[in-house]
């Protein structure tokens, strides 16, 4: 908690949080990152589930999308830390924030499992049921993370 208080009182953090233009740029990168991560992951998951781009090769689609997933993840993480820094003392004790972080890491783990296994699944005559289950869990986790994310500001305001 002492670290959080120290973080939110750093001069550049105070300046960034209080400046509408600077904090809006941080928000823009946060949203852009989220949209890239969730959207690209969802597309690959939907393709595995047989609900998108069935005429296109799964491995090629995944190879095209995954670099943007990782770029999105980079944007989300950096901008997310900057947003956390401004209100660290309020975020730290908020349970819903830690639920969001937990779901976020779980979703990344499932995303990595999908990414590593796509070429293998794609070589099989049909996508295995287990792969579809993993894709479905990944999809649910990312949308669960959005739900947790929209709850965070309301909870922080109540702290």
């Amino acid at each position: 908690m002492a670290f959080c208080r120290w973080l939110e009182h750093l001069p550049w953090v105070v300046e960034m949080t209080g400046n509408a233009v600077q904090i809006s740029i941080v928000w823009l990168f946060h949203f852009l990152g989220y949209f890239l991560v969730v959207g690209t992951t969802a597309l690959v998951d939907l393709r595995i589930l047989g609900l998108a781009g069935k005429r296109q090769n799964l491995t090629q689609l995944a190879k095209l999308l995954f670099p943007w997933t990782w770029l999105g993840l980079f944007f989300v993480t950096v901008s997310g830390f900057l947003m956390f820094a401004g209100y660290a003392g309020q975020f730290y004790p908020a349970g819903v924030f830690w639920i969001k972080i937990g779901v976020f890491f779980l979703a990344i783990i499932f995303g990595v499992i999908v990414q590593r296994n796509v070429p293998k699944w794609d070589r099989l005559p049909a996508i295995p049921l287990g792969a579809k289950a993993i894709a479905l869990i990944s999809l649910v986790l990312w949308f669960g993370m959005i739900l947790a994310s929209v709850e965070v500001p309301a909870f922080i305001a109540c702290v």
């Binding site: 809006s24 949209f35 959207g39 689609l61 095209l64 309301a154």
Partner: protein, 158 residues
């Protein structure tokens, strides 16, 4: 006229319930952001491909074929959630300059540009290499969507 429509929307029983419910309101936000994730990411991915990234993996025409349905499904979901969020605080939104710039100016321009780019992609995107016009069109669309997002982010500042 617009004010009275906003007032009427805001006071519909379903909207009043959604606005006051701790459980329902986050699901409206989830709807909006889930749709936006699909919509924005599929728009940007095609723009990025038109700019020439990932040319060895898939032609823009094939990529468009893979994302087309979910691109528009994403917009439909985003609009459903967005319109519901608008209804909950319609009176405030219609008077908000950032909302006005986003909805009346940036969003229609970006949407029309997107439709033009999508229609042209079938012609431009048959080969690995995209023509200069395609690169320019993709770059402009990418900037337009970033402007729309900035308009949305700026709304709470008023």
């Amino acid at each position: 006229m617009l004010t009275s429509i906003a007032h009427w929307l805001q006071n519909l029983p379903l909207i009043l319930w959604l606005g006051s419910s701790d459980h329902a309101y986050p699901f409206v936000q989830l709807t909006h952001f889930s749709g936006l994730s699909l919509w924005i990411s599929t728009c940007l991915i095609l723009d990025i491909r038109l700019l020439g990234f990932g040319k060895k993996l898939m032609t823009p025409a094939k990529l468009l074929d893979a994302i087309f349905v979910w691109n528009w499904v994403g917009l439909a979901i985003a609009v459903t959630g967005g319109f519901t969020l608008f209804c909950i605080a319609a009176g405030g939104y219609i008077a908000n300059p950032a909302f006005q710039v986003k909805i009346y100016m940036l969003l229609p321009v970006a949407l029309i540009w997107h439709i033009i780019v999508q229609r042209k992609t079938r012609g431009w995107g048959q080969t690995e290499e995209t023509p200069t016009a395609a690169k320019l069109a993709g770059g402009i669309e990418l900037i337009l969507w970033l402007c729309v997002m900035t308009g949305g982010i700026w709304i709470p500042n008023y």
